[in-house]
Symmetry: C2
Subunit: 317 residues, 2 copies
Amino acid sequence: MRIGLDMMGGDFAPAEAVKGVKVYLDNVASDVHLVLIGDEQQLAPLLTAAQLDQSKYSVVHSSQVIGMDEHPTKALKEKPHSSISIGFHLLKEGKVDAFISAGNTGAMMVGTYYSIKAIEGVQRPTISTLVPRENGSYGLLLDVGINADCKPENLAQFALLGSLYSKHILKVNNPKVGLLNIGEEEGKGNLLAQATYPLLKENKQINFVGNIEGRDIFSEKSDVIVCEGFTGNVVLKMAESFHEIAVKRNIHDEYINKLDFESYGGTPVLGVSKPVIIGHGISKGMAFKNMIQLAQQIIDSKLLEKIKESFVAKEVQ
Amino acid sequence: MRIGLDMMGGDFAPAEAVKGVKVYLDNVASDVHLVLIGDEQQLAPLLTAAQLDQSKYSVVHSSQVIGMDEHPTKALKEKPHSSISIGFHLLKEGKVDAFISAGNTGAMMVGTYYSIKAIEGVQRPTISTLVPRENGSYGLLLDVGINADCKPENLAQFALLGSLYSKHILKVNNPKVGLLNIGEEEGKGNLLAQATYPLLKENKQINFVGNIEGRDIFSEKSDVIVCEGFTGNVVLKMAESFHEIAVKRNIHDEYINKLDFESYGGTPVLGVSKPVIIGHGISKGMAFKNMIQLAQQIIDSKLLEKIKESFVAKEVQ
């Protein structure tokens, strides 16, 4: 298994990316070979200092970097030798089995759309966030920002994609799917939620438990919460801000600390045919390590094959 | 000034309503006369025990109660002698200058629409929530639930209504208006946010400061945050849940305590021609006291006249 990692992406690259590689290689026993994409001259001293097992990685040189604020499409076009462009090229050609970057999110999304296809039947790939719960388990909220306007069918697909992720990666048995809404009963909500409810209710591939209100996002009422990317993004960023407020106010609490979403690593793009993981710009060593591990889990669990099968099954129904 | 109060509305009525009346009358010097609407037999012993200044209130008997889960329109029709029906009747007839209830929210909204008109030019009345900030001041978020689907023009009107409330009730000088969105730059967001941005930017009656992300809701970046009622309701309920989680986890923090929105009292219905305040079902004494005080402030500040003038000015522009 070969996992490609953009060493130049993120605010603290390449130093924190190297740290993440070290923690992963030193602690996780696996047959993963890491393909580190970045500027050789910058990487060489860091990699030497890290004293890594040289059989476990190789370096692919990239001479360009896409900045965090560059226009995604333009940057990808004008910088074919950037770490992100090379990463997608390697993924497309099958030279790596997954690609990870904490770089320009827009460029990662555009690269994903252009380089690798959506899984047949998936209308809109989606990104998600883990939702920590007090009992130590994790829920999943999706979409969290790339699909700001959605149709009911999109939300129904997010429900299936999220269920499969919850089951195969988060190891939740028969994950409960909730529809984010502003009332408990069927018929409540905006037009989108009203039209989505029956689609989720009818869908035999998921375990729909009904509407979930804002107060229940962090509860165990559901394992997968679906919404359009506008509300999802507001929820995610607001939860992050609570963590920041708690830190600023010197509140130390094991659970509140888990609202530090930045430490989780990144979000996979769900619904595309190869594993792509997009990291937070401010990813540090542990986030990079977690992203490598997540890529490995996605490959090991054959998640994408399960998604393909489910969407084929859906077409046949 | 006569303020009507539904003594039978809310989970802890009438006992907590009486407590609120007592705290108000004992502590706030004003020429307010309270019109207490409720079951005389239930109220009599509570009012006697409370030892109130009898010149400061009168009781209007109501023989029916609309339950918290009753169908709003049906209940109002079938229960003309309910405290809510009588309250709106008194308000419509000018027998009270404001009406407050912590009862069935739907019945309060329907009652508002049917009994008193929207201010000329206001397309959609709206409800809001106070947003506590770390510096001790309060922002305003609206709509928080009664307008789940909105047009750009609705949001632009919420911006003006919120600005006037912020200025005249929260005493914020030249309140900064932000558009809740999922990116900072103009052009970001869903179709609604994209179309609303230029309307806010052009509007000379407000001080528009641009997009506000989920992470900035509790910051001082803006004093008034506008959004459709779906996202606003999710934000409100999620913030409440953080307070609940903090309480459960034994976190004691002055600021986090302010996320206990239930203690604030209620939300006025903005955009209608007479003051109506809707309280949380679980309102306790302090919440009732705060609602009475808010009704008084709304009348004292002549907020509704200012709103009328602003919307007339808007029509003329």
